[in-house]
Protein backbone atom coordinates (compact mmCIF):
# COMPACT_ATOMS: atom_id res chain seq x y z
CA UNK A 1 0.00 0.00 0.00
CA UNK A 2 1.46 3.34 -0.97
CA UNK A 3 1.55 6.37 1.28
CA UNK A 4 -1.11 8.03 -0.86
CA UNK A 5 -3.59 5.16 -0.48
CA UNK A 6 -2.93 5.08 3.26
CA UNK A 7 -3.72 8.78 3.52
CA UNK A 8 -6.78 8.34 1.29
CA UNK A 9 -8.06 5.46 3.41
CA UNK A 10 -7.57 7.35 6.64
CA UNK A 11 -9.13 10.56 5.41
CA UNK A 12 -12.29 8.52 4.77
CA UNK A 13 -12.58 8.33 8.54
CA UNK A 14 -11.81 12.00 9.01
CA UNK A 15 -15.46 12.92 8.34
CA UNK A 16 -16.55 10.73 11.23
CA UNK A 17 -13.88 12.24 13.46
CA UNK A 18 -15.22 15.71 12.59
CA UNK A 19 -18.78 14.52 13.22
CA UNK A 20 -17.87 13.48 16.76
CA UNK A 21 -16.02 16.75 17.31
CA UNK A 22 -18.67 19.19 16.10
CA UNK A 23 -21.68 17.33 17.48
CA UNK A 24 -20.00 17.01 20.87
CA UNK A 25 -19.35 20.76 20.96
CA UNK A 26 -22.88 21.50 19.76
CA UNK A 27 -24.42 19.59 22.64
CA UNK A 28 -21.88 19.92 25.42
CA UNK A 29 -21.38 23.71 25.28
CA UNK A 30 -25.01 24.59 26.19
CA UNK A 31 -25.40 21.51 28.41
CA UNK A 32 -22.30 22.57 30.33
CA UNK A 33 -23.86 25.99 31.00
CA UNK A 34 -27.04 24.38 32.34
CA UNK A 35 -24.98 22.11 34.57
CA UNK A 36 -22.90 25.06 35.78
CA UNK A 37 -26.06 26.99 36.72
CA UNK A 38 -27.50 23.93 38.49
CA UNK A 39 -24.21 23.54 40.33
CA UNK A 40 -24.53 27.16 41.55
CA UNK A 41 -28.18 26.69 42.49
CA UNK A 42 -29.15 28.04 45.89
CA UNK A 43 -31.17 24.90 46.54
CA UNK A 44 -28.67 22.66 48.35
CA UNK A 45 -30.06 19.33 47.07
CA UNK A 46 -29.76 20.31 43.39
CA UNK A 47 -26.28 21.73 43.83
CA UNK A 48 -25.09 18.65 45.73
CA UNK A 49 -26.55 16.18 43.19
CA UNK A 50 -24.97 18.11 40.32
CA UNK A 51 -21.67 18.20 42.14
CA UNK A 52 -21.83 14.42 42.58
CA UNK A 53 -22.63 13.84 38.88
CA UNK A 54 -19.72 16.03 37.83
CA UNK A 55 -17.36 14.18 40.15
CA UNK A 56 -18.43 10.84 38.66
CA UNK A 57 -18.05 12.07 35.08
CA UNK A 58 -14.64 13.58 35.79
CA UNK A 59 -13.54 10.75 38.02
CA UNK A 60 -14.09 7.86 35.61
CA UNK A 61 -12.34 7.27 32.29
CA UNK A 62 -14.11 8.50 29.17
CA UNK A 63 -13.43 5.08 27.65
CA UNK A 64 -15.51 3.48 30.39
CA UNK A 65 -18.31 5.98 29.85
CA UNK A 66 -18.30 5.18 26.13
CA UNK A 67 -18.71 1.49 26.90
CA UNK A 68 -21.41 2.21 29.46
CA UNK A 69 -23.46 4.39 27.12
CA UNK A 70 -23.08 2.00 24.17
CA UNK A 71 -23.53 -1.38 25.82
CA UNK A 72 -25.05 -0.41 29.19
CA UNK A 73 -28.70 0.04 28.12
CA UNK A 74 -28.79 -3.37 26.48
CA UNK A 75 -27.32 -5.25 29.44
CA UNK A 76 -29.55 -3.27 31.79
CA UNK A 77 -32.59 -4.34 29.78
CA UNK A 78 -31.43 -7.96 29.97
CA UNK A 79 -31.19 -7.70 33.75
CA UNK A 80 -34.59 -6.00 34.04
CA UNK A 81 -36.18 -8.64 31.84
CA UNK A 82 -34.78 -11.39 34.04
CA UNK A 83 -36.30 -9.73 37.08
CA UNK A 84 -39.51 -9.26 35.14
CA UNK A 85 -39.61 -13.01 34.45
CA UNK A 86 -38.88 -13.79 38.07
CA UNK A 87 -41.61 -11.62 39.56
CA UNK A 88 -44.13 -11.85 36.70
CA UNK A 89 -44.14 -8.15 35.95
CA UNK A 90 -46.17 -7.31 32.93
CA UNK A 91 -43.55 -5.50 30.87
CA UNK A 92 -40.62 -6.46 28.73
CA UNK A 93 -37.83 -4.14 27.58
CA UNK A 94 -36.66 -4.51 24.02
CA UNK A 95 -33.40 -2.58 23.78
CA UNK A 96 -30.62 -3.48 21.39
CA UNK A 97 -27.14 -2.08 20.91
CA UNK A 98 -27.31 0.91 18.60
CA UNK A 99 -26.19 0.20 15.04
CA UNK A 100 -25.40 3.79 14.36
CA UNK A 101 -22.53 4.11 16.81
CA UNK A 102 -22.39 7.88 16.34
CA UNK A 103 -25.40 8.25 18.66
CA UNK A 104 -23.94 6.59 21.79
CA UNK A 105 -20.52 8.08 21.02
CA UNK A 106 -21.85 11.66 20.86
CA UNK A 107 -24.03 11.13 23.95
CA UNK A 108 -21.04 9.87 25.96
CA UNK A 109 -18.74 12.62 24.71
CA UNK A 110 -21.34 15.37 25.22
CA UNK A 111 -22.10 14.32 28.81
CA UNK A 112 -18.43 13.94 29.68
CA UNK A 113 -17.39 17.25 28.17
CA UNK A 114 -20.40 19.06 29.64
CA UNK A 115 -19.03 18.15 33.07
CA UNK A 116 -15.67 19.71 32.28
CA UNK A 117 -17.18 22.76 30.57
CA UNK A 118 -19.51 23.25 33.54
CA UNK A 119 -16.56 23.62 35.88
CA UNK A 120 -14.87 26.04 33.47
CA UNK A 121 -18.06 28.12 33.25
CA UNK A 122 -18.31 28.06 37.03
CA UNK A 123 -14.77 29.33 37.40
CA UNK A 124 -15.70 32.20 35.08
CA UNK A 125 -18.99 32.96 36.80
CA UNK A 126 -17.45 32.97 40.25
CA UNK A 127 -14.68 35.29 39.19
CA UNK A 128 -17.21 38.06 38.55
CA UNK A 129 -17.26 40.60 41.38
CA UNK A 130 -20.57 40.99 43.23
CA UNK A 131 -20.30 44.74 42.64
CA UNK A 132 -21.24 44.27 39.00
CA UNK A 133 -24.53 42.55 39.92
CA UNK A 134 -25.25 45.32 42.41
CA UNK A 135 -24.44 48.04 39.90
CA UNK A 136 -26.65 46.38 37.28
CA UNK A 137 -29.46 46.16 39.82
CA UNK A 138 -29.11 49.85 40.62
CA UNK A 139 -29.19 50.68 36.91
CA UNK A 140 -32.48 48.82 36.65
CA UNK A 141 -31.37 45.66 34.83
CA UNK A 142 -33.48 42.58 35.49
CA UNK A 143 -31.70 39.39 36.57
CA UNK A 144 -31.80 37.68 33.14
CA UNK A 145 -30.70 40.93 31.50
CA UNK A 146 -27.78 41.25 33.91
CA UNK A 147 -26.72 37.71 33.13
CA UNK A 148 -27.05 37.86 29.35
CA UNK A 149 -25.83 41.41 28.71
CA UNK A 150 -23.25 42.05 31.41
CA UNK A 151 -22.01 38.86 33.05
CA UNK A 152 -21.95 36.30 30.21
CA UNK A 153 -19.86 38.25 27.69
CA UNK A 154 -17.20 38.88 30.32
CA UNK A 155 -17.30 35.26 31.47
CA UNK A 156 -16.82 33.99 27.92
CA UNK A 157 -13.86 36.28 27.42
CA UNK A 158 -12.25 35.09 30.65
CA UNK A 159 -12.72 31.36 30.09
CA UNK A 160 -11.66 31.25 26.43
CA UNK A 161 -8.09 30.05 27.08
CA UNK A 162 -9.29 27.15 29.26
CA UNK A 163 -11.95 26.35 26.69
CA UNK A 164 -9.33 26.13 23.95
CA UNK A 165 -7.45 23.70 26.16
CA UNK A 166 -10.49 21.48 26.53
CA UNK A 167 -11.43 21.65 22.84
CA UNK A 168 -7.92 20.64 21.83
CA UNK A 169 -8.22 17.66 24.16
CA UNK A 170 -11.55 16.80 22.55
CA UNK A 171 -9.92 16.56 19.13
CA UNK A 172 -7.51 13.95 20.44
CA UNK A 173 -10.12 12.15 22.51
CA UNK A 174 -12.20 11.39 19.41
CA UNK A 175 -9.77 8.52 18.84
CA UNK A 176 -11.35 6.80 21.83
CA UNK A 177 -14.49 6.08 19.78
CA UNK A 178 -12.49 3.06 18.66
CA UNK A 179 -13.44 1.25 21.88
CA UNK A 180 -16.98 0.92 20.62
CA UNK A 181 -15.99 0.05 17.04
CA UNK A 182 -16.91 3.41 15.54
CA UNK A 183 -14.90 3.58 12.33
CA UNK A 184 -13.34 7.02 12.76
CA UNK A 185 -9.94 8.04 11.47
CA UNK A 186 -7.79 6.44 14.15
CA UNK A 187 -9.73 3.16 13.96
CA UNK A 188 -9.03 2.96 10.24
CA UNK A 189 -5.42 3.92 10.94
CA UNK A 190 -5.12 0.97 13.29
CA UNK A 191 -6.62 -1.35 10.71
CA UNK A 192 -4.21 -0.18 8.03
CA UNK A 193 -1.30 -0.44 10.47
CA UNK A 194 -2.32 -3.98 11.25
CA UNK A 195 -2.74 -5.18 7.70
CA UNK A 196 0.42 -3.48 6.47
CA UNK A 197 2.47 -4.15 9.63
CA UNK A 198 3.59 -0.55 9.46
CA UNK A 199 3.74 2.35 11.85
CA UNK A 200 3.27 4.91 9.10
CA UNK A 201 -0.52 5.16 9.67
CA UNK A 202 0.14 6.29 13.24
CA UNK A 203 2.45 9.02 11.98
CA UNK A 204 -0.23 10.08 9.49
CA UNK A 205 -2.78 10.09 12.33
CA UNK A 206 -0.45 12.26 14.38
CA UNK A 207 -0.12 14.74 11.53
CA UNK A 208 -3.90 14.77 10.99
CA UNK A 209 -4.57 15.52 14.67
CA UNK A 210 -1.89 18.16 14.75
CA UNK A 211 -3.31 19.97 11.71
CA UNK A 212 -6.81 19.72 13.15
CA UNK A 213 -5.61 21.25 16.41
CA UNK A 214 -3.60 23.92 14.63
CA UNK A 215 -6.85 25.00 12.96
CA UNK A 216 -8.67 24.91 16.30
CA UNK A 217 -5.89 26.97 17.87
CA UNK A 218 -6.02 29.50 15.05
CA UNK A 219 -9.81 29.88 15.21
CA UNK A 220 -9.82 30.20 18.99
CA UNK A 221 -7.02 32.76 18.77
CA UNK A 222 -9.16 34.80 16.38
CA UNK A 223 -12.18 34.55 18.67
CA UNK A 224 -10.06 35.69 21.63
CA UNK A 225 -8.78 38.65 19.66
CA UNK A 226 -12.27 39.66 18.52
CA UNK A 227 -13.39 39.71 22.15
CA UNK A 228 -10.38 41.51 23.46
CA UNK A 229 -12.24 44.84 23.68
CA UNK A 230 -13.69 43.55 26.93
CA UNK A 231 -10.30 43.50 28.62
CA UNK A 232 -9.76 45.98 31.32
Amino acid sequence: MTLATMIMKMSEGLGKTCAIFFLTLLFSLPLGMIVALLRRSKIKVISKITQFCISVLRGTPLMLQLLAVTYGPYYLSVAVNKLSDLYNWSFYLDISISRNKLIPVVIAFAINYAAYFAEIYRSGLESMPVGQYEAAHVLGYSKPQTFMKIILPQVIRRILPSMTNEIVTLVKDTSMAFTVSYQEMFTIGKQVANSQTSFVPFIIAGVFYYIFNAIVGFVMGRVEKSMSYYTM
Partner: protein, 284 residues
Protein backbone atom coordinates in the same frame (compact mmCIF):
# COMPACT_ATOMS: atom_id res chain seq x y z
CA UNK B 1 28.70 38.21 24.10
CA UNK B 2 25.25 36.72 24.50
CA UNK B 3 25.25 35.54 20.90
CA UNK B 4 28.52 33.73 21.38
CA UNK B 5 27.27 31.86 24.41
CA UNK B 6 24.17 30.75 22.53
CA UNK B 7 26.24 29.62 19.56
CA UNK B 8 28.59 27.67 21.82
CA UNK B 9 25.68 26.00 23.57
CA UNK B 10 24.11 25.05 20.24
CA UNK B 11 27.38 23.61 19.00
CA UNK B 12 27.74 21.57 22.19
CA UNK B 13 24.21 20.20 21.82
CA UNK B 14 24.93 19.25 18.21
CA UNK B 15 28.13 17.44 19.15
CA UNK B 16 26.41 15.50 21.91
CA UNK B 17 23.56 14.58 19.60
CA UNK B 18 25.76 13.31 16.79
CA UNK B 19 27.94 11.34 19.20
CA UNK B 20 24.84 9.86 20.75
CA UNK B 21 23.39 8.82 17.41
CA UNK B 22 26.64 7.35 16.19
CA UNK B 23 26.96 5.44 19.44
CA UNK B 24 23.58 3.86 18.89
CA UNK B 25 24.62 2.68 15.45
CA UNK B 26 27.79 1.03 16.63
CA UNK B 27 26.56 -0.85 19.67
CA UNK B 28 24.00 -2.97 17.84
CA UNK B 29 26.21 -5.19 15.71
CA UNK B 30 28.07 -7.86 17.73
CA UNK B 31 25.01 -9.64 19.16
CA UNK B 32 23.78 -10.51 15.68
CA UNK B 33 26.85 -12.58 14.84
CA UNK B 34 27.17 -14.43 18.13
CA UNK B 35 23.92 -16.34 17.73
CA UNK B 36 24.25 -17.61 14.17
CA UNK B 37 27.56 -19.37 14.66
CA UNK B 38 26.52 -21.34 17.72
CA UNK B 39 23.76 -23.31 16.00
CA UNK B 40 25.72 -24.50 12.99
CA UNK B 41 28.82 -25.70 14.81
CA UNK B 42 27.43 -28.12 17.38
CA UNK B 43 26.28 -30.97 15.16
CA UNK B 44 29.03 -31.21 12.57
CA UNK B 45 31.54 -33.06 14.78
CA UNK B 46 29.98 -36.56 14.67
CA UNK B 47 28.22 -38.27 11.77
CA UNK B 48 24.64 -37.15 12.17
CA UNK B 49 21.83 -37.37 9.71
CA UNK B 50 21.31 -33.93 8.24
CA UNK B 51 17.73 -32.84 7.80
CA UNK B 52 17.17 -29.76 5.68
CA UNK B 53 13.95 -27.87 6.13
CA UNK B 54 12.67 -25.91 3.14
CA UNK B 55 11.05 -22.63 4.11
CA UNK B 56 9.72 -19.44 2.68
CA UNK B 57 11.74 -16.99 4.75
CA UNK B 58 9.15 -14.26 4.32
CA UNK B 59 6.14 -15.88 5.90
CA UNK B 60 5.82 -14.72 9.49
CA UNK B 61 4.89 -16.00 11.97
CA UNK B 62 5.54 -19.45 10.49
CA UNK B 63 8.98 -18.86 9.06
CA UNK B 64 10.94 -15.66 8.80
CA UNK B 65 14.25 -14.05 9.51
CA UNK B 66 14.47 -12.47 12.94
CA UNK B 67 16.24 -9.24 13.85
CA UNK B 68 19.53 -11.09 14.31
CA UNK B 69 19.41 -12.55 10.80
CA UNK B 70 18.49 -16.02 12.03
CA UNK B 71 15.65 -18.09 10.62
CA UNK B 72 12.88 -18.50 13.11
CA UNK B 73 9.11 -18.78 13.30
CA UNK B 74 6.65 -21.33 14.55
CA UNK B 75 7.38 -23.94 11.89
CA UNK B 76 11.14 -23.48 12.17
CA UNK B 77 11.10 -23.84 15.95
CA UNK B 78 8.96 -26.98 15.80
CA UNK B 79 11.16 -28.56 13.13
CA UNK B 80 14.30 -27.68 15.05
CA UNK B 81 12.94 -29.22 18.24
CA UNK B 82 11.79 -32.32 16.34
CA UNK B 83 15.26 -32.77 14.83
CA UNK B 84 16.84 -32.41 18.27
CA UNK B 85 14.53 -35.13 19.51
CA UNK B 86 15.52 -37.40 16.62
CA UNK B 87 19.19 -36.62 17.01
CA UNK B 88 19.37 -35.16 13.52
CA UNK B 89 21.33 -32.15 12.44
CA UNK B 90 18.94 -29.36 11.56
CA UNK B 91 19.45 -27.07 8.61
CA UNK B 92 17.31 -24.46 6.95
CA UNK B 93 17.06 -23.85 3.23
CA UNK B 94 15.19 -20.90 1.85
CA UNK B 95 13.21 -22.14 -1.14
CA UNK B 96 11.86 -20.18 -4.04
CA UNK B 97 8.19 -20.56 -3.23
CA UNK B 98 7.06 -21.04 -6.84
CA UNK B 99 9.53 -23.84 -7.34
CA UNK B 100 9.45 -25.35 -3.88
CA UNK B 101 8.42 -28.84 -5.01
CA UNK B 102 11.06 -28.96 -7.74
CA UNK B 103 13.68 -27.97 -5.21
CA UNK B 104 12.35 -30.64 -2.87
CA UNK B 105 12.66 -33.26 -5.62
CA UNK B 106 16.16 -32.06 -6.40
CA UNK B 107 17.15 -32.80 -2.82
CA UNK B 108 18.00 -29.22 -1.94
CA UNK B 109 15.76 -29.70 1.04
CA UNK B 110 14.10 -32.70 2.69
CA UNK B 111 10.74 -31.17 3.28
CA UNK B 112 8.72 -28.05 2.57
CA UNK B 113 7.36 -26.82 5.88
CA UNK B 114 6.41 -23.19 5.92
CA UNK B 115 2.75 -22.47 6.41
CA UNK B 116 2.16 -24.44 3.24
CA UNK B 117 -1.44 -24.93 2.16
CA UNK B 118 -2.19 -28.55 1.33
CA UNK B 119 -3.47 -28.71 -2.24
CA UNK B 120 -5.14 -31.80 -3.75
CA UNK B 121 -2.71 -31.53 -6.64
CA UNK B 122 0.23 -32.21 -4.34
CA UNK B 123 -1.18 -35.54 -3.23
CA UNK B 124 -2.05 -36.42 -6.83
CA UNK B 125 1.53 -35.77 -7.85
CA UNK B 126 2.61 -38.34 -5.28
CA UNK B 127 4.18 -36.16 -2.61
CA UNK B 128 3.97 -37.46 0.93
CA UNK B 129 1.96 -34.93 2.89
CA UNK B 130 1.81 -34.90 6.66
CA UNK B 131 -1.33 -34.68 8.73
CA UNK B 132 -2.56 -31.06 8.64
CA UNK B 133 -1.45 -29.09 11.68
CA UNK B 134 -3.05 -25.71 11.09
CA UNK B 135 -6.55 -24.75 10.10
CA UNK B 136 -7.36 -21.35 8.74
CA UNK B 137 -11.09 -21.96 8.38
CA UNK B 138 -13.42 -19.08 9.25
CA UNK B 139 -17.03 -19.49 10.28
CA UNK B 140 -19.98 -17.17 10.68
CA UNK B 141 -21.47 -16.98 14.16
CA UNK B 142 -25.10 -15.88 14.42
CA UNK B 143 -27.86 -15.92 17.01
CA UNK B 144 -30.08 -19.00 17.12
CA UNK B 145 -33.08 -16.85 16.24
CA UNK B 146 -31.36 -15.25 13.25
CA UNK B 147 -32.81 -15.81 9.77
CA UNK B 148 -29.28 -16.09 8.34
CA UNK B 149 -28.73 -19.61 7.04
CA UNK B 150 -25.72 -19.24 4.78
CA UNK B 151 -23.08 -16.71 3.89
CA UNK B 152 -25.27 -15.57 1.00
CA UNK B 153 -27.81 -14.31 3.55
CA UNK B 154 -25.20 -11.90 4.88
CA UNK B 155 -25.90 -9.51 1.99
CA UNK B 156 -26.74 -6.09 3.38
CA UNK B 157 -26.18 -7.23 6.98
CA UNK B 158 -23.68 -5.83 9.39
CA UNK B 159 -20.90 -8.22 10.30
CA UNK B 160 -18.29 -7.90 13.04
CA UNK B 161 -14.70 -9.06 12.79
CA UNK B 162 -11.77 -8.72 15.16
CA UNK B 163 -8.91 -6.43 14.28
CA UNK B 164 -5.71 -8.23 13.34
CA UNK B 165 -7.19 -11.71 12.90
CA UNK B 166 -7.02 -13.92 9.83
CA UNK B 167 -10.73 -13.21 9.41
CA UNK B 168 -10.02 -9.51 9.00
CA UNK B 169 -7.29 -10.24 6.48
CA UNK B 170 -9.63 -12.49 4.46
CA UNK B 171 -12.38 -9.85 4.36
CA UNK B 172 -10.03 -7.00 3.47
CA UNK B 173 -10.15 -5.54 -0.02
CA UNK B 174 -7.28 -7.72 -1.20
CA UNK B 175 -8.27 -10.77 0.85
CA UNK B 176 -9.59 -14.13 -0.33
CA UNK B 177 -13.12 -13.37 0.89
CA UNK B 178 -13.27 -9.83 -0.50
CA UNK B 179 -16.21 -10.76 -2.74
CA UNK B 180 -18.18 -11.87 0.28
CA UNK B 181 -17.38 -8.80 2.34
CA UNK B 182 -18.40 -6.58 -0.58
CA UNK B 183 -21.98 -7.84 -0.12
CA UNK B 184 -22.07 -6.88 3.58
CA UNK B 185 -24.09 -3.85 4.58
CA UNK B 186 -21.35 -2.91 7.01
CA UNK B 187 -18.16 -4.47 8.27
CA UNK B 188 -17.57 -3.55 11.90
CA UNK B 189 -14.03 -3.96 13.19
CA UNK B 190 -13.93 -4.61 16.92
CA UNK B 191 -10.82 -4.55 19.06
CA UNK B 192 -11.55 -7.90 20.72
CA UNK B 193 -13.65 -10.98 20.20
CA UNK B 194 -15.45 -10.12 23.43
CA UNK B 195 -16.74 -6.91 21.82
CA UNK B 196 -17.71 -8.78 18.63
CA UNK B 197 -19.76 -11.24 20.66
CA UNK B 198 -21.26 -8.49 22.81
CA UNK B 199 -22.35 -6.65 19.65
CA UNK B 200 -23.92 -9.85 18.33
CA UNK B 201 -25.71 -10.58 21.58
CA UNK B 202 -27.11 -7.07 21.81
CA UNK B 203 -28.12 -7.01 18.12
CA UNK B 204 -25.50 -4.40 17.33
CA UNK B 205 -24.44 -6.62 14.43
CA UNK B 206 -26.09 -9.55 12.66
CA UNK B 207 -23.15 -11.92 12.53
CA UNK B 208 -19.53 -12.36 13.60
CA UNK B 209 -16.83 -13.59 11.24
CA UNK B 210 -14.45 -15.58 13.36
CA UNK B 211 -11.88 -18.41 13.51
CA UNK B 212 -13.61 -21.76 13.69
CA UNK B 213 -11.97 -22.88 16.98
CA UNK B 214 -12.86 -19.59 18.69
CA UNK B 215 -16.48 -19.86 17.57
CA UNK B 216 -16.71 -23.48 18.70
CA UNK B 217 -15.43 -22.62 22.17
CA UNK B 218 -17.87 -19.72 22.42
CA UNK B 219 -20.90 -21.75 21.33
CA UNK B 220 -19.99 -24.50 23.78
CA UNK B 221 -19.97 -22.00 26.64
CA UNK B 222 -22.89 -19.77 25.69
CA UNK B 223 -26.46 -20.57 24.77
CA UNK B 224 -28.40 -19.06 21.92
CA UNK B 225 -25.79 -19.00 19.16
CA UNK B 226 -25.09 -21.20 16.18
CA UNK B 227 -22.28 -21.59 13.68
CA UNK B 228 -22.60 -21.42 9.91
CA UNK B 229 -19.68 -23.46 8.66
CA UNK B 230 -19.06 -23.18 4.94
CA UNK B 231 -15.33 -23.73 4.94
CA UNK B 232 -14.83 -20.04 4.26
CA UNK B 233 -11.21 -19.31 3.58
CA UNK B 234 -10.62 -23.00 4.24
CA UNK B 235 -6.96 -23.78 4.23
CA UNK B 236 -5.04 -26.43 6.05
CA UNK B 237 -1.31 -26.34 6.40
CA UNK B 238 0.87 -29.44 6.21
CA UNK B 239 4.41 -30.60 5.51
CA UNK B 240 5.45 -31.95 2.11
CA UNK B 241 8.05 -34.71 1.67
CA UNK B 242 9.37 -36.42 -1.47
CA UNK B 243 7.28 -39.27 -2.89
CA UNK B 244 9.68 -41.97 -1.69
CA UNK B 245 10.18 -40.40 1.70
CA UNK B 246 7.46 -41.84 3.92
CA UNK B 247 10.20 -42.64 6.47
CA UNK B 248 11.10 -38.99 7.09
CA UNK B 249 7.43 -38.05 7.28
CA UNK B 250 6.79 -40.75 9.88
CA UNK B 251 9.86 -39.82 11.90
CA UNK B 252 9.03 -36.09 11.95
CA UNK B 253 5.34 -36.73 12.65
CA UNK B 254 6.31 -39.08 15.48
CA UNK B 255 8.63 -36.50 17.01
CA UNK B 256 6.00 -33.77 16.68
CA UNK B 257 3.39 -36.03 18.30
CA UNK B 258 5.64 -36.71 21.26
CA UNK B 259 6.17 -32.95 21.58
CA UNK B 260 2.42 -32.43 21.56
CA UNK B 261 2.06 -35.04 24.29
CA UNK B 262 4.72 -33.68 26.63
CA UNK B 263 3.70 -30.05 26.19
CA UNK B 264 6.78 -28.84 24.30
CA UNK B 265 4.59 -28.10 21.31
CA UNK B 266 2.19 -25.96 23.33
CA UNK B 267 5.11 -24.12 24.91
CA UNK B 268 6.49 -23.13 21.50
CA UNK B 269 2.98 -22.26 20.28
CA UNK B 270 2.54 -19.85 23.20
CA UNK B 271 5.15 -17.62 21.62
CA UNK B 272 2.89 -17.17 18.60
CA UNK B 273 -0.44 -16.01 20.02
CA UNK B 274 -1.78 -15.04 16.59
CA UNK B 275 -1.91 -18.60 15.34
CA UNK B 276 -2.40 -20.59 18.51
CA UNK B 277 -6.19 -20.85 18.09
CA UNK B 278 -5.88 -22.52 14.72
CA UNK B 279 -3.34 -25.20 15.61
CA UNK B 280 -5.12 -28.49 15.10
CA UNK B 281 -2.96 -30.50 17.50
CA UNK B 282 -3.79 -28.15 20.36
CA UNK B 283 -7.50 -27.77 19.66
CA UNK B 284 -8.60 -31.35 19.10
Amino acid sequence: MKKKVVALLLAAVLVVLTLGLAGCGITKKPSAEADTTSTTKTASSNEKKVFTMGIDAEYPPFSYMDDNGEYTGFDVEICKAACERLGWEFKVFGVNWDEKLIQLDAGECDCVWSGMTILPSMKEAGYVISEPYYDNTQVVLVKDSSPIKSSADLAGKSVAVQLGTSGEALLAEDGDCADLSATFGELVTCESFLKCFAELEGNGVDAVFVDAPVAKTYVAEHEGFRIIDENLGAEQYGIAFRADDQANCDAISGAVNSMVEDGTYAKIAEKYPDIVNNLLFLNK
